[in-house]
Amino acid sequence: MTATKTPTERPPAQRVVRRAGDRLFAGSAKGSGIFILVVLAGVAAFLIGEAIPALTAPAEDVPGGEGLSGYIAPLVLGTLLGAVLALLVATPLAVGIALFVTYYAPRRIAAGLGYAIDLLAAIPSVVYGFWGLAVLAPALVPFHVWAADHLGWLPLFAGPASTSGRTMLTVGLVLAVMILPIISAIAREVFSQAPALHREAALALGATRWEMIKMAVLPYGKSGVIAGAMLGLGRALGETMAVAIVLSGGAGATLNLISSSNPSTIASNIALRFPEATGLGINTLIASGLVLFVITLAVNMLARWIVNRRADFSGAN
């Protein structure tokens, strides 16, 4: 009797095994996760809340006097111009670097070389600004003059060439250096994951190293490179200090890359104007920050979606 009674007493005892400590720990872990979602929602909510006065204000009260869209549109153009330029320069370079580190460099030093590239990502953006202003901008002035003379028929190089080099072109190159490690890190990872069987099969058929890469590595790594480029784009769009220091901006919308009058970018405009802004000026800047937030959010979500889609189908794991 007692033997059959003990098992019937067990189930309630087992239920008690879910202790207070367990519940507390699980709850706080889950709570932190939810807190992160709340923070992200909070970022959006607070930005919208502080931007509303600028959205509803009469056009002539907004700084610049042409309404909110008239204020933000040139900034969006400048932001996109610098970021796209950076992307065009950085992506091919980053793919080359990734290939070099994964398949060309001697095995023994490859890891060290990869680390050297990663160092580029560790340098604070304000230091990039210093470098762009003191080294890159003066160094590029001859190129500005050359481009104005020889490529002046393109609207991008219409000139007159800036004598200080503090142009959208220089900014694009600084941003390119900054996003290079981001793109090449992701490209390196996907390239090194290319199936060894495919690579060795290509080599066994007599392919040269480049043919092997073209046939086995690049098709496999394509979406990874695209995703890396999108992440780099997101970083370039939001980059603040380097642009704020290097660019002499604020001259309205123009596609001209090499003249001394450039459109500013959203982020650098905020950094430059915020410390002195008051009243509606702050709301306007926050509204422009909201636009930047939405743009980068869209770019990053797209990038993550591509990465995740690839992870689902690649069979790499």
Binding site: A26, A29, K30, S32, V126, V135, A244, I245, G289
Partner: protein, 359 residues
């Protein structure tokens, strides 16, 4: 002409099973061609006023062309393309090294001028020209970064634990996705968020060290979550199962088994996350501002931080411009050193605290 004489021998060899092409460029030919290209490049650049940069560019282009043409004539189209791509890929890497070397050299060159004891012991209080230092800014950065870490590490670590140990279904997917998205938030937007939040709480014109920490935490939390999650995933399941089999509750298993096993990776990840935010300028610029004196209380008024200090020294120099520029570059140098030290520390942590393997 050489190819026409070559093909019969190749055909003759193939039945014998010789796969390897016997016509190859001599081993040191590419090197020689590059040296010749650089020499020619030096001459060419000397025509328009000698410069090392032009010599390197000419040398790389001419050398690559020479190797390609040579390989094309001797080895055939496919090998030549292979050599061309090798040259291009190597050049890409070399190009990426140029800014790194140039940047480090410039910062060292200009920053060492004021890299002295005074820089680390004096603040900018009542300094208008020469002298002064970044004592207040270095300490401010340390305080704000420490507060940021105190906010971010528990939240980030607990979230990572949730994702790896507890998370299921939609909530886990949502958190993973939005943490990824959060890593892409521009730093200036994080600053605006902190500003908007504290403006709502404390009214206009509030500037606190804590605001800066809140902004930096928004940037740091996703980095901590991602790196801790990766590390926790690496802890073998056998360890957890062995612990459960001994009747240890789940939370004690996590605290006593999972976390100690992963401690090296966690330390590395958190240190790298600190390195990521310690150089952030934009959010601090709009939330913390700058002062000339020493304020180490993050709950009271503006504080000085190293990146913002460097920025204002560079962009708003006073009458004695050179003194301000020197301080700016030295601050940049200190910033780089801080980040590098954190990176090295992170590597050391992963080396010395790694779980013992092979028993």
């Amino acid at each position: 002409m050489s190819t026409s004489t070559q093909s019969p021998t190749r055909v003759a060899e193939e039945p014998g099973g010789a796969i390897r092409r016997n016509r190859r460029l001599p081993r040191y030919a590419p090197l020689g061609l590059y040296v010749a290209g650089i020499a020619l490049g030096a001459v060419l650049s000397a025509l328009t006023g000698f410069s090392i940069a032009l010599t390197a560019v000419y040398g790389a282009v001419l050398g690559t062309l020479a190797v390609y043409t040579g390989a094309r004539a001797v080895e055939g189209r496919r090998k030549a393309t292979d050599r061309l791509v090798t040259a291009l890929v190597t050049t890409a890497f070399a190009i990426a090294m140029v800014p790194l070397v140039s940047l480090v050299y410039t910062v060292l060159d200009k920053g060492l001028a004021r890299f002295d004891a005074q820089f680390f012991t004096n603040s900018m209080f009542r300094v208008v020209g020469e002298g002064g230092g970044a004592y207040h800014a270095v300490l401010g950065t340390v305080v704000i970064t420490a507060v940021t870490a105190v906010i971010s590490v528990p939240i980030g670590l607990l979230t990572a634990i949730y994702l790896v140990e507890y998370g299921t279904g939609r909530l886990k997917k949502a958190i993973t996705f939005f943490v990824d998205v959060m890593t892409g938030i521009p730093s200036i937007v994080a600053g605006l968020f902190a500003f908007a939040l504290f403006t709502l709480l404390f009214g206009n014109d509030v500037r606190l060290g804590l605001m800066g920490s809140a902004a930096l935490a928004v940037l740091m939390i996703p980095v901590v979550v991602r790196s801790c999650e990766e590390v926790l995933k690496l802890v073998p399941n056998e360890l957890r199962e062995a612990s459960y089999a001994l009747g240890v509750p789940k939370w004690r298993t996590i605290v006593k088994v999972v976390l100690p096993t992963a401690v090296a990776g966690l330390g590395t990840g958190i240190t790298l996350a600190v390195a990521r935010v310690i150089g952030e300028t934009a959010p601090l610029l709009i939330t913390v501002g700058l002062v000339t004196g020493t304020n180490l209380n993050p709950f009271d008024g503006r504080m000085a931080t190293l990146p913002v200090f460097a920025y204002y020294q560079l962009t708003q120099p006073g009458t004695d411009t050179q003194a301000f520029l020197d301080r700016a570059w030295t601050a940049a140098l200190v910033l780089i050193i801080l980040v590098m030290v954190l990176n090295v520390v992170a590597r050391l942590i992963s080396r010395f605290f790694a779980p013992k393997t092979g028993r």
